[in-house]
């Protein structure tokens, strides 16, 4: 009785009220609207069964490309950010002994910049004719790889992936760095005494002991990648054609076109994918938390 009055549940009410009203109720009611022809053209909302979903999954439409692009973006950013982030974390953990804090502050800095601004700056840097990147590549004689970064539909999505990784790698780095710092130094000394070389120490000590941190960054990268919007919108707005259209930019397109039923259906699929992916990744990567 005393405990209950000391920690009254109504303290949680403001947070629950806002979250329930503006997050959960819209998400759940969205599942119902996904089966309707709700649009901005008519006040009537009718149930149309699976019509929206049939349209989304029909091979004649371009919606399947949204899914494909989202998965390519998610997969490529996971690999790039994890590899680069791990490399940088190892560099700051054992490579350099001084100025670690300065490097960390500088490498993390893009994380706090607005996506929209990063997108605009890189639009100028990646301009095929006048941009800094191609100017630099031509200056050092690498004309051959001075590409049409955001114009060529085959490489546009990878250009966005690289820019997004530039922005986000600092976040991954600091998490992995924190993970590395939890590994006791004497493990390495013992391994060295036993004759393990640098690769063996990395493969059989660092990687398994870092697994919990790698699991966390993978979850974060999956959740981020599947929902990505800002950087794509700012850099290509889904173009050229549908070459970089991802689920969230597609959802915004159907919003601007007034196709609410269809957009809600895509949102609902994204909702289900996220629940499935979040669960799957956690299961896959967290068989046994080490050293926790």
């Amino acid at each position: 009785m005393k405990i209950r009055s000391r920690y009254p549940r109504y303290f949680a009410l403001p947070a629950l009220l806002l979250y329930g009203t503006f997050f959960i109720i819209p998400s759940l009611s969205g599942i119902v609207y996904a089966f309707t022809d709700w649009s901005s053209y008519s006040d009537d909302v009718n149930f149309v069964g699976l019509k929206n979903f049939a349209k989304i999954f029909s091979p004649g439409e371009y919606y399947l490309a949204y899914f494909l692009n989202t998965f390519v973006f998610t997969g490529a950013t996971i690999v790039l950010k994890t590899v680069l982030g791990l490399g940088l974390a190892l560099l700051l953990n054992e490579g350099v002994k001084r100025f670690v804090n300065i490097y960390r502050v500088l490498i993390y800095r893009p994380v706090v910049l607005p996506f929209i601004v990063v997108g605009l700056i890189f639009r100028s840097i990646l301009n095929p004719a006048t941009g800094l990147l191609n100017t630099f590549l031509r200056a050092i004689g690498l004309d051959a790889i001075a590409m049409q970064w955001l114009v060529d539909p085959h490489i546009a999505i990878y250009s966005v992936v690289v820019v997004d990784s530039w922005k986000g790698v600092g976040y991954i780095m600091v998490i992995l760095l924190a993970g590395l710092q939890t590994i006791p130094k004497d493990y390495y000394e013992a391994a060295e005494v036993d004759g393990a070389n640098a690769w063996q120490r990395f493969r059989y000590l660092t990687v398994p002991l870092l697994m919990p941190a790698i699991a966390i960054v993978t979850v974060l990268n999956v959740l981020y990648g599947l929902r990505v919007f800002d950087i794509v919108y700012a850099m290509t707005n889904g173009g050229p054609g549908y070459a970089t259209e991802v689920l969230s930019t597609g959802i915004f397109k159907s919003f601007s076109q007034g196709q609410y039923g269809l957009g809600t259906a895509i949102s609902t699929i994204l909702f289900l994918i996220l629940i499935g992916a979040g669960y799957g990744v956690i299961r896959l990567l967290e068989p046994k938390p080490v050293g926790d």
Binding site: F22, I24, P26, V96, P114, L120
Partner: protein, 276 residues
């Protein structure tokens, strides 16, 4: 004898890589800084060269043409408002849910932090915003942003509450503190580090957000800086000096907060993730 030079060489190599990485993350910010001061002609290729002449008037031009005063005010209002509301509400919720872990309270906690992973449904949220008469209003933006920050804020604060000894609560109650006095007089001061972290992160996330105003404001007078800068770019694509000046004004507060509060930001991001 031979070990030392090899070690030194490795260390030099490591520093070279670290400096290169730092340069790569710095160049775009540098580009914005130098090009914001150039003439339109010199900034056309957004090059790394220094301005031949300093054009400080670019800032005045962009503030005037881009209607930046009102946007700056909006960004400040949304970010400060959302940061205060989210931190306060999340603090209250995290405190009781963490201290009194009944089955229902644990379920409520997981229900709240589920929001970290879930996407928003913008269509039905529009309906909700219309229903509550909050669409295209400033209070509406503040409430929306506060809502979006609550899940992660609850998650961060919840972990921290557990590190404050319960004996304090008991002593305070014996001394006659009610729940409000207990929270605001005793617990909140002890939560200061995590509340500062939550406040800063909520402020930055809101300041940097672009999506909410894109969906939910249709009058320019409610636009924050991010939407203003994107729209300005649409109109003045050829004037990279003005676009750069606009970008610089948008990111200046972010960079200042980052430099002043980087300790809190980095600790918040890593603690949150590692504990999770």
């Amino acid at each position: 004898m031979s070990v030392k030079p090899k070690k030194n060489l490795r260390s030099v190599g490591a520093h070279i890589v670290a400096i290169a990485a730092s340069l790569v993350t710095t160049i775009p910010v540098y580009l914005v800084c130098v090009n914001a001061l150039k003439s339109e002609a010199q900034s056309s290729s957004m090059g790394i060269d220094l301005p031949t002449q300093i054009h400080l008037e670019n800032f005045l031009t962009v503030i005037d043409k881009g209607k930046l005063l009102i946007s700056f005010f909006n960004s400040m209002l949304y970010s400060a408002g959302a940061s205060i509301l989210a931190t306060l509400f999340a603090g209250l919720a995290a405190f009781v849910l963490s201290r009194h872990r009944t089955r229902l309270n644990r379920a409520l906690y997981f229900f709240l932090i589920m929001g970290i992973a879930l996407p928003i449904n913008f269509f039905t949220l529009t309906k909700m915003m219309q229903l509550t008469h909050l669409i295209n209003t400033r209070p509406g933006m503040i409430i929306l942003y506060a809502t979006l920050q609550i899940p992660f804020a609850v998650f961060l604060i919840y972990g921290f509450v557990a590190s404050i000894p319960r004996e304090l609560d008991e002593a305070a109650t014996i001394d006659g503190c009610g729940p409000f006095q207990l929270f605001f007089r005793i617990i909140m001061p002890l939560l200061t580090p995590v509340l500062v972290t939550t406040g800063i992160l909520s402020f930055l996330n809101t300041w940097n957000d672009f999506v909410m105003p894109l969906y939910y404001t249709n009058s320019t007078s409610n636009w924050p800086m991010t939407l203003a800068v994107y729209n300005f770019f649409g109109q003045y694509k050829q004037s990279w000096n003005l676009v750069s000046a606009d970008i610089l004004l948008t990111i200046l507060p972010v960079l200042l907060i980052y430099l002043a509060g980087q300790r809190f930001i980095l600790s918040g991001m890593t603690n949150g993730a590692v504990k999770g």
